[in-house]
Symmetry: C2
Subunit: 277 residues, 2 copies
């Protein structure tokens, strides 16, 4: 009997060595029903062409990555960021996904004020949330691991992401639950329940935590089962909070990227079944 | 007028290229009144010889680093860890410091259970805390940044360190407040106040947060002023919570270690005065 993959989605970044046609073909062949897409490779292949490709292949698009980077103080830079996020929302709508993943952004050069940076994110969301809502797109704020707090995301916990999201309607702004970023946090299980009860879990991603971390720490996300995270417990927790959609596996990993992409996809399917299926 | 260094202590690791005689001589010459020591270089120079050296130089010893690593499940390994920590407590007493810094330890190989690991730390502390108390030594639990949660320290927040400490008398077990590990945490300021009110701040260390992080992420702690942390705000916060002893500057930094140690010490004194003085 083939394994149940109805709740599995492959985030494109995990196998970024595959072109979009290669990815969709491999998904169909392996029985993977859904993908999470990234703006850059989508733009390269063409937005409408990508939408047609995945639609014709019968694949659901679980999210588009990513909007965000909303912490700039410079007015021109802020205006550019808002324009870029409106474009991302439009792209999500064309691709047929209702979820845009948002990475908040780090501290501007020379700044040491996390609180002020978070307020600028809230200001930007007050513009973007209704724009997204009108297009049937939900913004999903992704808390990143605290090791990214200065340079990528001033929102380091699920509770803080929820604090931000809860200023807006739940069908406009929610959160991403990604095991890689929150697994260490003893308050995260309660935050998952809080997010679920409020209808604010808009995306659920799995990656494992492996050490040693590589230089720059960005591309060290572990293949499922290789690391320290009890992935099945997290799946049960997030599903108990109401999550019933496909779960994205999103790995940034130089080792995986160096291998054959279809082989990595097949391995990732196996690991999902073994570790969280 | 020379700057007020009465509240400055140099942690030996910051200038580990200096021998103990070089370090004490440089401290005396620069007006540095206190040092934090590490067990390995102390053992190399000799415990009694080190105690005499710093005493004769008129230096206070603000802490000894480090005890801990109490998460093993193997009985023989646990017994060895307890023996080693008793030895560390004895060494602290000989050196004339009342503070032993404790790094809790990571997950044992193959384990994914943070909660159970934390309980084993509490079990070990129930043995070690009275032993320390009888010798006038306080155990200071150091929460490490969540990026170390799997391999070095399953206690990633100041609140969790306090939850552990509060199972024991305050004159036996407290916490280390180190800006490097907690700066990102919006709950840490309240935890500092909580720790201060309970008389459980047993050590206060400064380091700045700089990126990109190096491979392994251990030796990337930034020189004061080079990074994202508002060090003066943290000093004010910790002092408002009652801290009135010298503040250790503890930097693990390959770049600083490659330079002349006395020059690095002089620079660190200047940065302390500029950024947190």
């Amino acid at each position: 009997m083939s394994p149940d993959l109805s709740r599995f989605s492959i985030n494109q970044m995990t196998v970024k060595q595959l072109s979009l046609p290669e990815l969709t073909e491999a998904c169909v062949r392996l029985g993977v029903p859904a993908v999470g897409l990234w703006r850059e490779p989508v733009a390269e292949y063409g937005l409408d062409a990508t939408a047609k490709l995945v639609r014709d292949a019968g694949l659901a698009v679980t999210s588009l990555c990513r909007g965000g980077f909303l912490t700039a103080t410079d007015p021109a830079e802020r205006a550019r960021a808002l324009d870029d996020n409106r474009a991302a929302i439009d792209e999500a709508a064309v691709l047929g996904t209702d979820t845009l993943v948002m990475v908040s952004g780090g501290l501007p050069p020379g700044s040491r004020d996390l609180t002020a940076a978070r307020e600028r994110i809230a200001d930007a969301l007050s513009v973007l949330a209704p724009y997204a809502g009108e297009r049937g797109v939900r913004l999903a704020i992704e808390p990143l691991h605290p090791m990214f707090a200065s340079d990528r995301c001033v929102v380091p916990t699920l509770d803080q992401a929820l604090d931000l999201a809860e200023r807006f309607p739940a069908d406009q702004v929610g959160v991403v639950v990604d095991t890689y970023h929150i697994w260490w946090d003893d308050r995260a299980p309660a935050a998952v329940a809080r997010a679920g009860a409020a209808g604010r879990i808009h995306c659920f991603q799995l990656a494992d935590w492996t050490t040693p971390l590589p230089a720059g720490v960005l591309n060290g996300r572990g293949q499922l089962g290789d690391g320290a995270i009890d992935l099945r417990a997290w799946r049960e927790r997030v599903e108990a909070a109401g999550w019933a959609r496909p779960i994205e596996v999103e790995l940034f990993n130089d080792g995986l990227w160096a291998r054959d992409g279809v082989e990595v996809l097949a391995e990732t399917v196996e690991r999902f079944v073994d570790c969280a299926g």
